[in-house]
Symmetry: C2
Subunit: 195 residues, 2 copies
Amino acid sequence: MKKKAEERREQILRAAFQAVSDKGYETVTLQDIADYAGVSKGVTNYYFENKEDVFLSLLEWVTDRIYQQEYKAVSKQTTAIEKLEAYLYSVFINPEKNKKFYKVYLDFMAQASRNPQYRQINLKFYENCWKIGRDIVSLGQKEGTFSPDIHVDTASKMIRSIIDGCLIQWLMRDEDHLHEFYKNTCYEVILKYLK
Amino acid sequence: MKKKAEERREQILRAAFQAVSDKGYETVTLQDIADYAGVSKGVTNYYFENKEDVFLSLLEWVTDRIYQQEYKAVSKQTTAIEKLEAYLYSVFINPEKNKKFYKVYLDFMAQASRNPQYRQINLKFYENCWKIGRDIVSLGQKEGTFSPDIHVDTASKMIRSIIDGCLIQWLMRDEDHLHEFYKNTCYEVILKYLK
DNA sequence: AAAATTATTCTGTCCGGTCAAAATATTTTT
DNA sequence: AAAAATATTTTGACCGGACAGAATAATTTT
């Protein structure tokens, strides 16, 4: 029972994710989401309060998935450098997925700039990312790989700023082959900053 | 004749800028823009082809103004460090203006991720910004202030990525007092990267 | 058959773009 | 320089279309 309902919700969120990525946050209608999910309009209204509820759930779902991926990738490694590399490989996963996510993410940030509910969810995502950054930086300091002068909290914020800045610029330039370039230079900038 | 028309267009763009900043790209109606400009609805359609034409013009107008400011600030200085500082002071102008611009800019980037027309205008903005970055970096190398190993084109792209990444993160955190923090750390990261 | 779930239809609201008429400005004529 | 004629600008009512959410109907599950 509960299982079924949870699957249904996820099916709808997955569909909403694709729909928003294709058409944009404001353009997508409940009908679109239903169409993408291959269900009728009533279903969406049954599993979610209203349109906003779908979108809030979507942002939470999608940022959480990204964070889980990043966390998993970093956990597998042992040294700070390995972890940092794994983090970046997980973030810069590939052009298709990055495009899909950042299109939607930009939409949501635009919303978040005016709507505290979205901002709240994004802040949770930030805090998760910062945590990953902090762990890497403080491990690196313990190892002696990174400079002890770096302020751990500050660095974790900068790491995420650089990542997002690079991926947004990459997305705006709309050339898949530049993905490698931004991944590598992003890594270099961060590394140089931490050393 | 022409003068009057140009003024009218700017009046409408200025109003549209404020309206979009307040309400968001998709929410703003032609009526809103007219209201903000203190004119009737028909006027907007008289001076612009349609709604999209207003928005395309707005993005071009607003990014151009920003670039002009940055360029002017940098031009006044002579050494690479001074220019870099001036650039960052011009970018991180103050919380109010940054908020107003980045709210609108995020909206447009979300659009640009799916619409090549917006992307084109943004690319022009990027190229202007990169040019500023390149000039600063190559001057710094000539002076011996910055490392000669840095690739100038690459650096100019990174500078803008870091700036946008920082300001977006700052906007999402919605705490004016963090503006100083992001300005300073943004500067430090860039400087450490260039040295 | 009662309850839960899914499909379809309806309704009120809102918006972009049009347009004819009014208002205003400019030019020409007397 | 006043009046008339013409051009430009402004206004807001209106239309067609789209959509969210509600209501209702149909179907499936228990």
